[in-house]
């Protein structure tokens, strides 16, 4: 039919954060990889706020780094301000957040792709040929056919996307990019069910139109920090973040124009995220709030554009101008790019395996916002795992599936494939039950050995890891020393005792690097709680891992509630643990366990 115009091991559709990690992982594992994207100039862009990290997300970035991904390195390269969130709230939830120069970030990623030998192709994918249940490549809008036995879809918010600003609706991707047309239909032809989500962003204003002196300057951390375990920690001080508040006047303008908001007049049908409400939504839902905090973030070190965090909106442009100008310091602000809402198609993620391969289509993977997530970090993590698993499958190896008790990435993907996602999914620390075990700072100890086994961890990274591991072991040994007849390890369990208190008595401790000291201190201080989480993880593993036989018919089990039957039929969870996660009640799970045990005694069913 069409001539083959290229052939690769792995083909990645899209060039955002998921695509970049997927392509890099595939290429670094020794496979030929191409990216097909609408605009090859637009790589790893940040159409929303120019920031990486935050609670839950920072942990993901460190995990990507520990496995040998690129995001943390790109962030450290492009950071213009860095702070620690939740510093006083404990090691489980402490998280870095970096404001980055988005141009520098994209440039770093583009360079990395080139270094890894990834081919960048321009074009719009309109079809995905499948034969004998396996993917064969992609067909572009111009008729070109590129062959590949592994295709990773990372289309972000571009599938049949439309942008909405007030009463203006147009088919478009973010920031003036075209929408991806036709691929949604191709996916439906393959039997893949799609849903529609909505998200949005804030207006950008011209930097020279802001009266900075009327705003509060937000400074970064005064001590050196870095995202990557390979980077040298640094202090940043670039005057790039300012804050202010909305006021009664702002809220009046919004209230007076609510009827012109597409959110309220029914134009927007897609489901938006609860954690990322538009300013009109906030004013409407929390009328008692007198003000909402707003941050102004420079989009690059010498940017002429400023991102307004907290002012996501799809109100008409004239209202946006009024709203922005009601804020302190912004009386004369010029909007360069208005805020907008965007609607897009996404794959219902329970159609994916935990490897991110689409159930029933061998070699087709999907990662990132197309799976219903939100955020650069969540996308990058999925891209990395899809890239790794596509590469491993080419080598005939089993996929890498991270456990919930092993990594935030494990929580993310497990939630995606086993739950109904009914709003764009953002990682939050509260989603992770083992957060005291899954700290940002121990991501390397948790995952770098696995990354090494996969083949993504370079010799240089491995050396750094091994050195730190040796120092950690040394440090743990030193904590066994006694002061005042009691081991330091025990004394640290008092909440107000600090490791620093013992540096005088055990001078070897002072020789250890600060990050190592912080780690062993946390391990000792929180050991009681950490051990409890570990026990709980093991306990759950015992029954959660129990297999539900494929093709199992819930109507055979007497006593199950109707909801449980519906859920079991709808999501066909593979294990009791997944059944619990799709919302089967513990009581029903017990009945299920008892039923399977009885079947087991008849020899019909064993567990793994």
């Amino acid at each position: 039919m069409t001539a083959i115009t290229g052939k690769y091991d792995i083909l990645v559709v899209g060039s955002g954060h998921a695509a970049v990690e997927a392509a890099l992982a595939g290429a670094r594992l020794g496979h030929s990889v191409a990216i097909v994207t609408l605009n090859p100039e637009n790589v790893a862009g940040m159409p929303c706020n120019p920031a990486v990290g935050g609670p839950g997300k920072a942990q993901i970035v460190s995990e990507i780094d520990a496995l040998g991904g690129e995001m943390a390195l790109a962030t450290d390269h492009a950071t213009i301000e860095l702070r620690v969130l939740n510093a006083s709230k404990g090691p489980a939830v402490q998280s870095l957040r970096a404001q980055v120069d988005k141009k520098a970030y994209a440039a770093h990623m583009k360079r990395a792709l080139g270094d890894a030998g990834v081919t960048l192709l321009g074009g719009m994918v309109v079809d995905i040929p499948v034969s004998s249940g396996a993917v064969r490549g992609v067909v572009l809008g111009n008729g070109d056919y590129i062959a590949a036995s592994r295709v990773i879809l990372c289309t972000g918010v571009y599938l049949e996307s439309r942008i909405i600003i007030g009463d203006v609706v147009k088919e478009s991707g973010p920031l003036g990019e075209p929408a991806a047309k036709g691929l949604s239909d191709a996916l439906r032809r393959l039997g893949i069910a799609l849903g529609r989500f909505k998200t949005g962003t804030s207006p950008r204003i011209a930097a020279d139109s802001v009266r900075w002196e009327e705003l509060k300057k937000e400074s970064g951390a005064p001590y050196p920090l870095a995202f990557s375990f390979l980077s040298k920690p640094r202090v940043y001080n670039n005057d790039v973040c300012y804050s202010t508040y909305t006021n009664e006047r702002t809220h009046e303008i919004i209230r007076a124009n609510l009827h012109r908001s597409p959110l309220f007049d029914g134009t927007i049908r897609g489901t938006g995220p609860r954690y990322c409400p538009s300013i009109e939504d906030k004013v409407y839902r929390f009328p008692e709030r007198e003000r909402h905090q707003i941050f102004l973030e420079m989009e690059a070190r010498d940017s002429d554009e400023v991102y307004i965090l907290g002012l996501s909106t799809s109100l008409p442009v004239d209202v946006q101008v009024e709203v922005v100008r009601s804020l302190p310091g912004l009386k004369e602000a010029r909007i360069v790019k208005p805020g907008y809402a965007i609607e897009y198609d996404r794959i219902l993620s329970q159609q994916l395996k935990p490897s991110l391969e689409v159930v029933g289509i061998e070699g087709l993977y999907s990662a990132g916002q197309i799976n219903g997530t939100s955020g650069y970090e969540e996308a990058a993590a999925q891209g990395l795992m899809a890239g790794i698993n596509a590469a491993l499958s080419l080598e005939g190896k089993p996929p890498v599936i991270l456990e919930r008790s092993q990594a935030y990435i494990g929580v993310l993907i497990d939630d995606l494939v086993s739950n109904v996602i009914d709003e764009p999914y953002r990682m939050l620390t509260s989603r992770c039950e083992y957060r005291l075990m899954l700290r940002q700072q121990n991501a390397d100890q948790r995952l770098t050995p696995l990354g090494r086994e996969i083949g993504l961890v370079s010799d240089a990274r491995w050396r750094v890891f091994e050195e730190k591991r040796a120092k950690l072991e040394k440090g743990r040994e030193l904590l066994g020393k006694k002061t005042g007849g009691v081991e330091v390890r025990e004394r640290l369990k008092a909440p107000d005792t600090r490791l620093e208190d013992f540096l005088g008595e055990i001078p070897e401790l002072a020789l250890l690097p600060e990050d190592v000291r912080a780690e062993i201190e946390i391990e000792a201080k929180y050991s009681g709680f950490i051990e409890r989480q570990e026990r709980e993880a093991k306990r759950l593993q015992r029954y959660a891992g129990k297999r539900i036989p494929p093709g199992f018919d819930p109507s055979e089990v007497p006593g199950l509630s109707r909801e449980a039957r519906d859920k079991l039929r709808r999501y066909a969870p593979a294990t009791i643990g997944r059944a619990l996660e799709v919302g089967v009640s513990p009581q029903d799970a017990l009945i299920l366990l008892a039923y399977m045990k009885n079947r087991g005694s008849g020899g019909a069913q064993g567990d793994e």
């Binding site: 404990g90 954690y275 906030k282 009581q587």
Partner: protein, 459 residues
Amino acid sequence: MKMKDDTIAAIATPPGTGGISIVRVSGPDALKIAGQAVRLRSGKPLASLKPWAARLASVVDARGAQVDEALVVVMKSPRSYTGEDVVEIQCHGGRLVSEKVLALLLEAGARPAEPGEFTRRAFLSGRITLEEAEAVLELVEAPTEYSLSQAAKRLRGELGQRVREWEESLYSALAAYQAGIDFPEDVDPGLERATREIERVHREIAALLERAPLGLALVNGIEVCLVGPPNAGKSSLFNALLSAERAIVTEVPGTTRDVLRERTEWNGLPVILLDTAGLRETSDIVEMIGVERAEKAASESEVIVYVVDGAVGLTGADRSWIEKWRKEGRRLLVVVSKADVSPRKAEEEELRKLTHGSFVLASAKTGEGLEEIKTKVTGWFSRGGEMDLLVPGSARQVDCLRRASSSLGEALSAQAEGWTEDVVVICLEEALRALSELTGKNVSEETLEQIFSRFCVGK
């Protein structure tokens, strides 16, 4: 209904409860298996019996010899306790006979039931949830009117209602913490209010748990063991406290040799009263075994009633037994018997010191002190007059509440000791997970729901 289960059998009555014991067979082959061991007097096959009608039958062994005479009741699926075909054989006499009947059923192809397996099958059979199953189980076995009303309350889910209220308060507290953690830049979580909520729920669960011994007593009955020197009048008291002539009473010391158990009811609470052989050194081998059993019964019961012979007064042996059990922290009541005839040789002053006031002067003959004994014993469980308050029933419910309470205690002390918020949150989540075993909610989803409905968060 498809049931692929095999057929199980077990003795359904608690061990030692004299009179009649019930052996229960449940499963698809219940009729066939029971039919091999049971011959109806009418000569008809077991399957022809009308469901729920009791018929006289012989239990016979493999050679056809009669083992016992029994009443047989057939319950057909699904209208039975387990939802399966069930045959109940009510046999005479003690443990030995019922064990023999059970052995015959096992020979005929039944499998011994695991602990709780009848109950599990009951809720596997449909209709009822776990909490309801527990309540139903109690209804079936409920020994007194008061237990019945408690079981009925739970069936309507009043405990569930309380638990759901606590759950709601705790989710709102957890959401306050978690909103501050996940959205540090936009939220003032109001943690003081959250702490007050946690304290309140902790207090309320603790108050309910205070009554847990009562709840368990209502379900299982309180075991009260009469012990003391020979001829102290234990058996007379036993009969008087039961209002029945159950134990043989003679003037001969050492008459009671085995442990006697009887169910009764004191102040609305089910009681299992135990009479035992007198504690003394003996060369009689049968009596010696009796004494050993008396000690064992005392050590396993919930309440020890130590009977001092009022005619003799406190002996050295009395003192050392009383001191031993007091030291072990047992619920111990000392009764000085024969108050009608004795010149009260047992000095009250010494008794008061020895027992910390936990003693009663009683007479089986005049009835003096009997009500006081009952009130003192039940008082340990009912804590004085709160009998109509809600009490948690099954051991599982008590266990869930206890774990929730202890996690809440940890959350509060973690906060007071200055631990970081992540630890407080983890303790709160543990408490909610324990409660969710009673209500079946997903902790993470509920928290998010609360955060987004209560706090204005997000960029």
